[in-house]
Assembly symmetry: D2
Homo-oligomer: 274 residues x 4
Amino acid sequence: MHDLVTSSLPDIQQSPDRRGVAIERVGISNLRYPLSVLDREHGSQQTTATLALSVALPAEIKGTHMSRFIEVLSSYQGVLSTQSLPEFLARLRERLKAPVAQIDVSFPLFLGRAAPATGKSALMDYTCALSAEDDGTHVDIVQRVEVHVASLCPCSKEISDYGAHNQRGRIDIAVRTAREADGTPSMIWFEELIELAEQSASSPLYPLLKREDERHVTMAAYDNPAFVEDILRNVAVRLREDARISWFDVGVTNFESIHNHNAFARVSWVRPGA
Amino acid sequence: MHDLVTSSLPDIQQSPDRRGVAIERVGISNLRYPLSVLDREHGSQQTTATLALSVALPAEIKGTHMSRFIEVLSSYQGVLSTQSLPEFLARLRERLKAPVAQIDVSFPLFLGRAAPATGKSALMDYTCALSAEDDGTHVDIVQRVEVHVASLCPCSKEISDYGAHNQRGRIDIAVRTAREADGTPSMIWFEELIELAEQSASSPLYPLLKREDERHVTMAAYDNPAFVEDILRNVAVRLREDARISWFDVGVTNFESIHNHNAFARVSWVRPGA
Amino acid sequence: MHDLVTSSLPDIQQSPDRRGVAIERVGISNLRYPLSVLDREHGSQQTTATLALSVALPAEIKGTHMSRFIEVLSSYQGVLSTQSLPEFLARLRERLKAPVAQIDVSFPLFLGRAAPATGKSALMDYTCALSAEDDGTHVDIVQRVEVHVASLCPCSKEISDYGAHNQRGRIDIAVRTAREADGTPSMIWFEELIELAEQSASSPLYPLLKREDERHVTMAAYDNPAFVEDILRNVAVRLREDARISWFDVGVTNFESIHNHNAFARVSWVRPGA
Amino acid sequence: MHDLVTSSLPDIQQSPDRRGVAIERVGISNLRYPLSVLDREHGSQQTTATLALSVALPAEIKGTHMSRFIEVLSSYQGVLSTQSLPEFLARLRERLKAPVAQIDVSFPLFLGRAAPATGKSALMDYTCALSAEDDGTHVDIVQRVEVHVASLCPCSKEISDYGAHNQRGRIDIAVRTAREADGTPSMIWFEELIELAEQSASSPLYPLLKREDERHVTMAAYDNPAFVEDILRNVAVRLREDARISWFDVGVTNFESIHNHNAFARVSWVRPGA
């Protein structure tokens, strides 16, 4: 074995363990690393990720070899995506001699956003994440996005002579993809989930708004009031309609502009038969 | 109904909804409030909590009445505990006219800790949390503690002529309690989970250590090396032995003193037959 | 000396140091502890604080005795306030044999807030903080409050046919108090700074609002638009008018409901002659 | 003016203000954006930054034009550095018609680090930051680095028969650069500050350590004990010796492995005559 060749020092981790506790995940977390990720418009983009890499540890082995996670990661040259994750996890399983390998990676994705009236464009950041587990027979992948939006309160609008309280909110979407006929996971762009979220609120947010744009956004939000429950349901209805999705968990949080606490709503769903 | 009596303004939340999405949780979050919690030594202690309160919303109703969560909370005078939660959730269900009510509350619990040699004592903080759900027939309660400890690396000790890297770590324990013969949930003190965690690491932490104490703690940790996997297994073995516990999820994180990232391990377990 | 009486172990901290670097602050931080603080309505209230305690260390001494900070804190029984801080710092200076002692303490203060139409009341949390330094001849005290408010954009209101974007914002006020004729620091209640902040924005926030209240708050904010610059200036004008204040630093941050970034403004000021 | 050409909507921000409060900073914060930064080994590296951009606002003007900050940033194509900041700030001042412009930008910098025995290399992240202000006659620049290190307690080592508590710590360095004979600011690489910090602690951290390396690091830290005060003084002595530095502020925090709180020390310094 590699480590025995390079070292005459004892390998405590390989000692037997008799407590009878198989460990689901053991590894490293809170690791920042530069990565390339998929970008629908430009092919890929360079970003900075925060990662956890782990493996399952059988009950009879004392410890895993933590340095190997870094070795696999630092030798990886590809673009991280739902398509490339299976190969990455296979490398982890092989290098760690583990039955199961897992990855959790989150990163900002920067997308160009054009203002609604002037068309002026700038980049906006969206936190995206991938969680995947390879148990040797199957690779399970969950994609997540955090999308900030504007919500305008229908109750406030209805009961007031003028105005309506509105605020920034956050939509958290997690989806598990179904499989295509050939067994590969369906492809869903982060960009698709982000657009779906933005279309489910009172208004999207924008990085750059001139006065004409601000007028447009102000009135569009007023014309489209939505409770936290409405935004959640708008997202849920559209995710259910997408056959590529076998499971989802959606949360919506409004940073209420009339309260010091937040309003939130949450729902999860499994496609019947999935 | 209360709100119709006090107001002639339209109640948009009571409008029908046709999207067909029942919502699992809708309510308020990130709310700070002063609360009394159980304290094994002193009966109760005053602390400051962060809460989320929510209900399930049937598919056919547009929205919940957010202000009622605050009304129920602000009228509550009791000591929050696994024993008093069922009554609190029953009030939420009734006031919100909801089939299911949930609470998530976390708070610092301050416990006296005596130094191991001099016996000098001071308070140490532990973050504790309760999550509970009442669906009308059953109240499900999960207790959580975050316990900081010291871990000393067995590999570093074994392969080095002197010294061993050690570090602060965190043990996160979540347990679901089984039921007694009379159907009530078993009583588990947060203090019990905290002590179990502290005994599972290389050494507990202390708020106040004089030199004699520091000598004691230094050598005790060196005499008791433990990988992140060892700490996790020590905790898991003891939780499995406790018949009051029907499920647990345990995570251990070491803030490695040789790396800029963390080492972690995690396992969950359901009591057979539970 | 105390530590030599109780211990025969060497006192490394008392070794001489020849690097010629006097240290401004050395001590402990990120310490959570329960404390009583002043409450204008009820005399005092119990809360949970996060503290840093430190001393200055002369260039020729190697180290301070960290455990003594905890000893002083854990033996303290009083209500922490601008009035009691000088005695607390004097104890720290004496116990640590230090020329200068400092404290930084922050905590949630809970105040009853009545809804503007129904009068229904509940508690709202405000993060307050005290920083103080005793150099043996003078005790310098800075009080801080974080107050969340609502802001409604004047530009959005003016350029739109209806509606106006609004959002939650945060006002951060730090003030240094002047001295009365007898040399004692002027008394300023946290409650005064909080009210001043709330009156400087488009609307205060409330913990509990029924529909009549929500109507009131919605229209009051629309009637009182304010840029982040306006809120800052409203606060600054009032602080300058208060002769008890010798210095201030104010920041305002709006969590824009049309953008994914914040708007902010900041100004500091010293009373001429102070 | 640009905005009047593109819009017939009223420009509320340009209204006069009579409160007499000149604002030091008004702008945008918490903005994430992809940026290129200097890299001593590779010329530049792509990273993701968090920015605040602001200007001073004269007392007689009501508001600034927030969208222009994004316009300047999104049109910027260069590598951000102490060398390029003056031009960037000049653009901000011109576009915002402001007397003073400021930037605060922080980002992870990834540097290759080789293990001390095997030489195996991987990337490690360091949070770096630049704060700069251009008041029309002068550009003031402050560079900051956060460097995580290991510290081993000299007291614990001395008073114990074996072992010594050690832990991860963080060194925060801020420096203001002096000017060269031609008036330009001196060039200091972030890499230089990072190395200085790593050499001032008991041991640097590493991203990748095999067993031979772990043995080396364990014993090196034991051979090099340092209090939080020692690390601070080691850094301060070296910064004072560097004629390119006219001011510094240094903080060291140890995440104590025997306590649930941290130990910290802090000092600032101005070069005599600077």
